[in-house]
């Protein structure tokens, strides 16, 4: 279970203190598919950074599987991120000079997975997201946007994380590809029992998730479903 309590993140900007995430508390059960919606600047991405341990909160706690990750030191955080969190970004963020399969193997290497296990696991994941053998060897530049996002999802799943955080995963895709990616994430959350939190401003997509939180000026306005 993901349990967030009184999470706050403040920044100093031009002599003023800006609170991007303001005293947020929420709980998400394992294997749930949850969305966070909100306008630009509402603090969605900051919240996602905090949940993904990419940034440290000013106060509050984040527990995943009973472990308070806000107390982890930097070195332990790196290991934690490698093994427990998967990221899917709006602009895919694949390494351009590595092939699709090499991109998927990257987090496995960082997590210390044995070399012999990496390739079969990456092939299996890429097949799972619908990328054939030929396309697995292609570099991101030779794949469509939808295909690149599928590679990004396979990369996020590489180390069987407990939590996948997706920041506008369909933002750069047309509606057909967007739906395909959404369905894929939905399907994976059930199949792998992985918690998926999607940040989006697309209310159609948000409406299809099991739970939706709305952020306004850094505060959790409410939840639906």
């Amino acid at each position: 279970m993901l349990k967030v309590e009184k999470l706050t993140k403040s920044f100093s900007s031009g002599g003023n203190t800006v609170t991007a995430v303001d005293n947020i508390s929420l709980e998400v059960d394992d294997g749930k598919f949850v969305s966070i919606i909100g306008r630009s600047g509402s603090g969605k991405s900051t919240l996602l950074s905090l949940l993904g341990t990419l940034d440290k909160p000013s106060s509050g706690t984040i527990e995943l599987g009973g472990q308070d990750v806000t107390k982890l030191r930097d070195h332990a955080l790196i290991k934690y991120r490698a093994s427990s969190i998967g990221f899917v970004f709006q602009s895919y963020n694949l390494v351009p000079n590595l092939s699709a399969i090499e991109n998927v193997m990257l987090p496995m290497e960082f997590a210390g997975m044995a070399k012999s296990e990496r390739r079969p696991r990456a092939e299996q994941l890429l097949e799972q997201v619908g990328l054939d053998e030929t396309k697995q060897q292609r570099r991101p530049g030779r794949l469509s946007g939808g295909e690149q996002q599928r590679v990004a999802i396979a990369r996020a799943l590489a180390n069987k994380p407990k939590l996948i955080l997706a920041d506008e995963p369909t933002g750069n895709l047309d509606s057909q590809n967007g739906k395909m990616i959404f369905d894929l994430l939905h399907q994976l959350s059930k199949k792998e029992n992985t918690t998926i939190i999607v940040v989006t401003h697309d209310s159609t997509i948000a409406g299809k998730t099991e739970k939706t939180y709305e952020l306004l000026d850094g505060k959790l306005k409410g939840k639906s479903k």
Partner: protein, 466 residues
């Protein structure tokens, strides 16, 4: 795939940029290596010159000015032996100069007396048949005498008059020989129809021609060179020495050794050296040595700056990628390792190009540096040595007609100019090691700031830019 493989592959992400960086960096490394080679070559040359050229001390009887005047008593073997024992004296060559006239040789001088010869003959300054025969000068038929030099060091012969000793035929006799043999100057040989194996008479003895030599110098080519012991015996001057040259192990010890010899011989000998002139010449090499060292440092720093700016640019360009790598579990060490590998790959490629260029260019660069920097000083030196050689003729007993004489001192000084520019930058295996070490150093120093920048990149920044 691991950190190393990714780092190497990243170095080739943009071939045009990689090519440009490698070429620029390669030129920088080539310059550094070429200058290092020049530095080494010049250093060796300085040591060599110090130990072989201009490190001689001329010793002549006090007041003796050859056949051109002066007086004094010849040096003795005991005096020379005492000089040999002085610290830093590595060897002493001895010579005895004499003149042969029609009264004691069948040889005819190959030098035309001319106005100068007749003038010296008329004023009785010790030239020609006048003083030797003791009769009134017959200026109309005056023929210059033939100079004979007895030496115990025939392998170190050269002309002080600017010519270089070259054996044209036959062979050089042994320094300790007592045989009646001689090396004959080429014009003297031609004048008297002598070839190797021919004989002539001198001091009432039959002398065999062992070799014919040339110097390119009129006076030098009209002389005879014979074993010292032979000349001492035949001319009835046993143990007499009119000129000696002490060789010192290094020019650095020249002054102190000269003083020691002066102290040993006292007022019985004139002792001189050419330290100042040679040191002036060497100072130009010292300048090149310093310049080349500064150039090595400058080129290495330039290389480090090139790779520093390159890596800084690359890191700034890939800031988001670094954030992604950190977000998906890469440690700072792994990301820095990847970028360091990229920097090392670029510099090793540049080092290979640099080494290849240095192998080809080091020698010409060294020679150009040396030629440009020593042209003025060597010109001056040659002129000075020429003047010195002229003086040496009088001191060593040369005739009034001028020209050089065969003494070791003349040989050494005559060769300084060409010796200085005869420098080769030898490319050895060590230069490859130096090149690769330079590349490694440049890569580490140049990418250190970039590594620090990488460490400062927070993974959250990638989310903010989404």
């Amino acid at each position: 795939m691991n950190v190393i493989t990714r780092g190497v592959r990243n170095a080739f992400r943009n071939n045009i940029r990689t090519g440009s960086i490698v070429v620029i960096l390669g030129l920088s490394i080539a310059l550094a290596l070429s200058m290092l080679l020049a530095h080494q070559a010049v250093g060796k040359k300085i040591d060599n010159v110090k130990g072989t050229v201009g490190n001689t001390i001329s010793i002549s009887p006090a007041g003796f000015r050859g056949f051109n005047g002066g007086g004094g008593n010849p040096l003795t073997q005991t005096q020379i032996d005492s000089v040999s024992k002085i610290n830093h004296v590595s060897s002493v060559s001895e010579s005895l100069s004499d003149r042969l006239t029609s009264s004691n040789t069948n040889l005819v001088s190959s030098i035309d007396a001319g106005a100068l010869g007749r003038r010296f003959a008329s004023n009785g300054s010790g030239s020609g048949t006048v003083s030797i025969g003791g009769n009134a000068p017959d200026l109309a038929n005056f023929t210059p005498p033939v100079t004979v030099v007895g030496t115990n060091d025939p392998t170190n012969l050269d002309s002080a008059g600017g010519g270089t000793f070259t054996l044209k035929s036959g062979q050089i006799f042994d320094g300790a020989s007592t045989a009646n043999v001689a090396l004959v100057g080429s014009t003297l040989a031609t004048k008297n129809s002598l070839v190797v194996g021919s004989t002539f008479t001198a001091y009432g003895a039959t002398i065999k021609v062992a070799g014919i030599y040339g110097t390119g110098n009129t006076f030098g080519d009209s002389q005879l060179i014979m074993p010292l012991a032979t000349v001492q015996t035949l001319s009835s001057q046993p143990g007499d020495i009119t000129s000696a040259t002490a060789k010192v192990d290094s020019i650095d010890n020249l002054a102190s050794t000269t003083t020691a010899i002066k102290n040993s011989l006292g007022s019985s000998a004139d002792v001189t050296n050419d330290q100042t002139t040679t040191q002036d010449t060497i100072s130009s090499l010292q300048n090149i040595k310093s310049i080349s060292l500064y150039s090595v440092i400058g080129a290495v720093v330039a290389g480090a700056v090139i790779i520093f700016l390159t890596m800084l640019m690359i890191v700034r360009e890939r800031r988001r990628e670094i954030g992604v790598l950190k977000a998906i579990g890469a440690s700072n060490l792994k990301v820095i390792g990847q970028f360091m590998t990229e920097a090392v790959t670029l510099t090793v490629l540049a080092a290979i190009i640099g080494i290849l260029i240095a192998i080809v260019a080091a020698d010409p660069i060294t020679k150009t540096l040396v030629n440009n920097s020593t042209s003025n000083s060597t010109t001056t030196s040659v002129t000075l040595f020429g003047a010195g050689a002229g003086a040496s003729v009088s001191v060593s007993g040369g005739p009034a007609a001028g020209g050089g004489n065969f003494v070791a001192r003349g040989r050494g000084l005559g060769r300084v100019g060409s010796s200085l520019t005869n420098i080769h930058a030898a490319v050895g295996f060590s230069i490859v090691i130096y090149g690769l070490l330079a590349a490694l150093g440049i890569a580490i120093v140049g990418s250190s700031i970039a590594s620090w920048t990488i460490a400062k990149v927070r993974p959250a920044e990638v989310m903010r830019s989404e």
